[in-house]
Subunit: 355 residues, 2 copies
Amino acid sequence: MEKKITILPGDGIGPEVVAAAVRVLQAIGKRYKHEFHLAYAAIGGAAIDQFNTPLPEETIETCSQSDAILLGAVGGPKWDNNPPELRPEKGLLQIRKTFDLFANLRPVKSFPSLLDSSPLKREVADNVDLLIVRELTGGIYFGEKKRTESAASDLNIYTREEIERIVDNAFELAKLRRGRLCSVDKANVLETSRLWREIVEEKKAQYPEVEVEHNLVDSVAMKLITNPSHYDVIVTDNMFGDILSDEASVITGSLGVLPSASIRGDSFGLYEPVHGSAPEIAGLGIANPAATILSVAMMLRYSFGMKEEAAEIERAVNAVFEDGYFTRDLAKDKDSALTTDEWTDKVIAEIDTNF
Amino acid sequence: MEKKITILPGDGIGPEVVAAAVRVLQAIGKRYKHEFHLAYAAIGGAAIDQFNTPLPEETIETCSQSDAILLGAVGGPKWDNNPPELRPEKGLLQIRKTFDLFANLRPVKSFPSLLDSSPLKREVADNVDLLIVRELTGGIYFGEKKRTESAASDLNIYTREEIERIVDNAFELAKLRRGRLCSVDKANVLETSRLWREIVEEKKAQYPEVEVEHNLVDSVAMKLITNPSHYDVIVTDNMFGDILSDEASVITGSLGVLPSASIRGDSFGLYEPVHGSAPEIAGLGIANPAATILSVAMMLRYSFGMKEEAAEIERAVNAVFEDGYFTRDLAKDKDSALTTDEWTDKVIAEIDTNF
Ligand SMILES: CC(C)[C@H](C(=O)O)[C@@H](O)C(=O)O
Ligand SMILES: CC(C)[C@H](C(=O)O)[C@@H](O)C(=O)O
């Protein structure tokens, strides 16, 4: 197959982890005889410095002409005091909205070889395999904002259609997994949550093979820590999804290993690691590229339908961990930690030896 | 001293834990020669059953004439399908608003003798001593709600005054503790958060002895798990506070032991355990009364200025844990678990033997 991919390295460790993931992508291309055409473009702080906007027209243009996007990370102290319109994160919010990427998928899975890095007891963090489906283009993120002398406000607003499409998406994903869906809201307080809950109830009949539960966001914030293996698919709105998916990302000790996908129902999508731009270690060559490499695996699976190729990347990453190779963030003995490039070489070797 | 206290037993285990806490209150009264006059009133499901409203006028009247309120818990499956206005939680929201209880204080402290019950590794959960100050009468909880055929919305709105008073409150509390304040918002997305952050920055100069940091809610949701002992006082809005304080409540394994206070700047306040009504164990006499007993300690300290009496309750509770006495929720060996009354007797005995 031939595929066009836009690469958005972004800020901080973004360029380093993206470079590593691109090497893995090329190895997969070679092995499975695919041609991946890459186009590089600017986003975030890097784009602000060069073009005075966090999401240049040129970048949108390049993305429009490609089959998928791979993003590193955006943000850093350099731009922290910029006005809202000139903040790196604004580029992220705009690209989501521009391409209508309404579903953010964040899988969290425990790797047995990483459990020592978890803040949770081994028996709690073990056997976690959940997927958070977060609505990404609606709600309080994009509702009207107002400011007067004496007050400020943000409107949390959801249309029926916006909720229906994300809920359908989550039901479909639950069907492909263990068939359990937890819908998270604050229906005892919010009107948007009451509509959300009604729609989940309406849709339920169309997916008889999926078992549904409703749970309040405060209660899920607790249970994600006390009993994370309870969950299969979690679906929730933009704001709750932001908080819960970050909370969930630390329970297995593998934040540096978590990928994400932002999709819209067709094959187009944006893939990025969950971790941020980590400016404090940028340029040192020690960042963990695993999350970005696994984001490439998600791209192959969701956007290109390359199931075998995706599984091969996941197998290789897992094998390298099982062999006891780690970057600095995960190594118990920091002296034996591999650099970004060394660790990536191990993954590529795994892929190659299985030709 | 003479004090009037309104007792709102509520639903589920509420009446049991409140009865236990009242016994401890009476023991303190006897030992320190205070007269506590109690008036009982209805709230929540119990009030719906009796008066067809979750917060009867009579209850408001009784509360108005007292110096403080002790609440058990509200809610249960019996009322789960009622319309919003006839839900037990509505009583809670209304009593907060009626008495302008704008500051919710939720301390989380690790008890060494309870750390085995924590989902977190001992070294992570140890030495936690934080206080969440949640704004309780504003924001998206009370902003305008709308519903049309095709959409729903909730307005998140804060006035300058609403933010100023809670921020002042948090600064004052930080001064009395370790002098560190973490203000939590989502300033990269929300206008209310940007106003919030500005006000914290303005106020900072008035409290030179307090060290301030700003942090995003998603990032705090992670750090509360990976490094909870980092925090001293956390201040945040109503919605974020709901989620983060519940998340924080499970990190030390002591949910059954956590008290809370809802106050308004004068001496009046409402005190209640953090745990809910636990309908599944209601009436069995096995509920853990520690959180309600410690809520009484908070009442003595904040509403009545009885510092020594409050400390005595806290000492007694801690001593009973150190002696290895637990109710069912915390006992390692369930056969040796004490009932609600037996455990309360131990606390009272501790208080008495120190006459
Ligand atoms: C950077 C920020 C605007 C963004 C969000 O809140 O969506 C980030 O936290 C995320 O989760 O991708
Ligand atoms: C019952 C509910 C309305 C309430 C809230 O969200 O404030 C509860 O979760 C709490 O934290 O006291």
